[in-house]
Symmetry: C2
Subunit: 199 residues, 2 copies
């Protein structure tokens, strides 16, 4: 089959690849006015027309994570605890979007708050659904390069953090050894390394 015919076939098939439809939704749980979590039940119609009456759906705030490279070529990371992780993990800059905040603006705000650095060169590494089935927010990932120190750290994080600097080889080794133990952090570091290597 020629590539043209294959593409045509794929396009036609995707045209008829119907997304599931949300027939109704109700809030099951919304602690603290939904500041950090709303749980909904969705009635969902699948592509074949069949209906699932009880499909749990999670709404949590969208967030950003940022891989920050300094002017000197070091990457700003943290050693810290995190509630979902046993022991200590490596981490990168990140935080929730404020209501209505643009992801890039949130990323720049978090870098300044958590590290005291500002950067001029920003690359988007994509926005991704955290849980393809239940939602659970979207993560917006960025690479910031050429970062320079401008003021002391002013973070509002609840965890203890120690800022550390890794060179690119150390960053890659830590990633491949599984030391970034929360998935969006590993995603951002991996995407950043692939992007920098492609340049």
């Amino acid at each position: 089959m020629s590539f043209y015919l294959y593409s045509l076939f794929t396009n036609i098939r995707e045209y008829f690849m119907q997304p599931w439809k949300t027939l109704s939704r109700e809030i099951l749980l919304q602690p603290d006015s939904g500041r950090f979590l709303t749980v909904e039940n969705h009635q969902v119609q699948l592509s074949d027309g069949s209906i699932i009456q009880n499909w749990p759906w999670l709404i949590t705030p969208d967030f950003v994570n940022v891989v920050v490279e300094t002017e000197e070529g070091d990457f700003l990371c943290f050693r810290q605890t995190k509630y979902a992780v046993d022991g200590v993990t490596l981490a990168i800059v990140g935080g929730y979007l404020e209501p209505g905040e643009d992801p890039l603006a949130a990323a720049q705000r978090e870098v300044l708050e958590e590290t005291g650095y500002v950067a001029d060169e920003w690359s988007a590494l994509g926005g991704y659904a955290i849980d393809g089935n239940r939602g659970c927010g979207n993560g917006h990932l960025f690479l910031a390069r050429g970062a320079r120190y401008v003021r002391p750290i002013d973070a509002d994080d609840l965890e203890e953090q120690t800022l550390i600097r890794l060179n690119r080889d150390e960053l890659r080794a830590a990633l491949m050894q599984g030391k970034f133990r929360v998935m969006p952090w590993s995603t951002a570091v991996a995407m950043a390394l692939l992007k920098m290597e492609a340049e």
Copy 2:
């Protein structure tokens, strides 16, 4: 400061970097006997001793995702819809662990069910908490190489899927263009590319 002193300092500091303590937990919501979701409220004590009375915690099943490379050097992917994503997305093999199932066994089962392939060369790409604050399950990522077709697809997925083959350059381009729109899929593809390039 010498590297030895720095390491000593870091180790001492991490020794005193206390994880948060779960003082109590109660189930708030457990639809369908918790098959896909349990929502808990945790009373949490932070490192500084202060207490948060209401910390929502999500329990969803752990899952696997697998980047599968065939004997011919093609990567097995899908075009499909996914409830948390608008439109069509690229995807990779994946699914929930059965109760008590080992992640590698689940990964091998899912590859066979979803693609009809088996592979002999397996590499672990790490296990990660999905949401560092709220849990929401752990994802176990794998790279399977040298995969060969042994039997027809026998998938139990609810979504329509079209199996496609991408070469390594196409896989990388699709990743960097954000076409894998669910985070664990992008993570696995990025980690797999970094691992293959390091070899």
